[in-house]
Subunit: 218 residues, 2 copies
Amino acid sequence: MTGRQTEPYGRPDKRQAIMRAARRVFGRDGYARAGVDTIAAQAGVSKRTIYNHFTDKQHLFETVALEGAHEVTAAIAQIMDRHLHKIVDLEEDLIAFSLDRVAAVTAFPDHFALVRTIEAEAAHIPPAILRAWIDAGPQTGHLRLAPYLRRIAGQGLLEIDDADRAAAHLTLLTITDINQQTFYGAVPLPEEKVRAIITGGVRAFLRIYATASPPGSP
Amino acid sequence: MTGRQTEPYGRPDKRQAIMRAARRVFGRDGYARAGVDTIAAQAGVSKRTIYNHFTDKQHLFETVALEGAHEVTAAIAQIMDRHLHKIVDLEEDLIAFSLDRVAAVTAFPDHFALVRTIEAEAAHIPPAILRAWIDAGPQTGHLRLAPYLRRIAGQGLLEIDDADRAAAHLTLLTITDINQQTFYGAVPLPEEKVRAIITGGVRAFLRIYATASPPGSP
DNA sequence: GTCAAAGTACACTCACTAGTGCAAGCCTTA
DNA sequence: TAAGGCTTGCACTAGTGAGTGTACTTTGAC
């Protein structure tokens, strides 16, 4: 219909400025409250330009949501690799990993504010788009974590029957707990509480999945 | 300021109709999209009446959020008592409890749709109100679950150092997992998957907290 | 039946928002 | 320098939504 997704239109810098601004404003104000004028002002761009790049407010929102998911997924992948590629002390490494993963929420405040908005809009987003977003973001997080756990299990440190479920459990016991309490960073939580939750979560995870007699033991 | 909270105003049936309608519409459409006219129509009440009962759209929203939290908390308390007052088989009882707790989301669709809206609005809700909501709803859920776990631990079936954390973990591994995947019921999840998640979650919980040698064993 | 409190219908203000049309200006590439 | 795509500013439409004022009717208690 529009053809604007396939053959790119306009100056890329403008487009990027729009997306960045849209992410921030949608995340801060929510979909309905966010005004296209506000986004334009934030982007330092004429409103008309936004409508030259994107057919619709809805379309803009969807595009921003998907693009952001990819970005963060890549960042999380890096964090995983940094902490879980080579295991020294499993508990310590998992704690450090989880702390970094939580820190990502602070590092991408606009994105995670947007996540909250997306979850709120779930019922008003076309199912196909929502599906695509889940696949690009949250879901990929799990699917990428699972292989690491499988590998660690292969080293005899974990005993795992279903790696996907284990990944889900680790996520729930650490990041999800914190995200839920802080509403994805909207409500502050003191550093020491974050640490306590993560530590408790990782220890619980290890009680579920750690091998009874690790390879280093007699 | 208004005095309307302290000395009740107007006919209670009208007030209740408004609250019911507001809960549904806020939950379905989100705060910003929800129109006071829509709520009035849904309640079968004149818009003016709404403004006679509540000073504000915001005020109405806050009132509905708090009232709903109390209602559901009471319902959950009943479910807890039904399943956890007397333990026959711990795993079975916990699974049955969790399944019922998840079913409550379906039983109060309006309320849980509203929960999603509240979480989305977190950043726009006055902190004091948000705090009050958390205390009345989610938080109370935990605090009420903890004593049951403590009691079960006292019977030698669980080994728990921090009952609040244990309650949080049980919640995360079961209901939270499901609520997150279904966006509080907005996206369907087949019955058998629900069952699988709950079962897996409860088993994981027991691996964390079940006593190594229960009292019945030799 | 009377009276007061509460509810209703409706018209209205005011602010704001999505989206469009257009003429003029800018920038880059040839 | 000429051209053509892109951006801009601005005015404009058309719709929507919160909240109010008012005159009138309903309801329930006594």
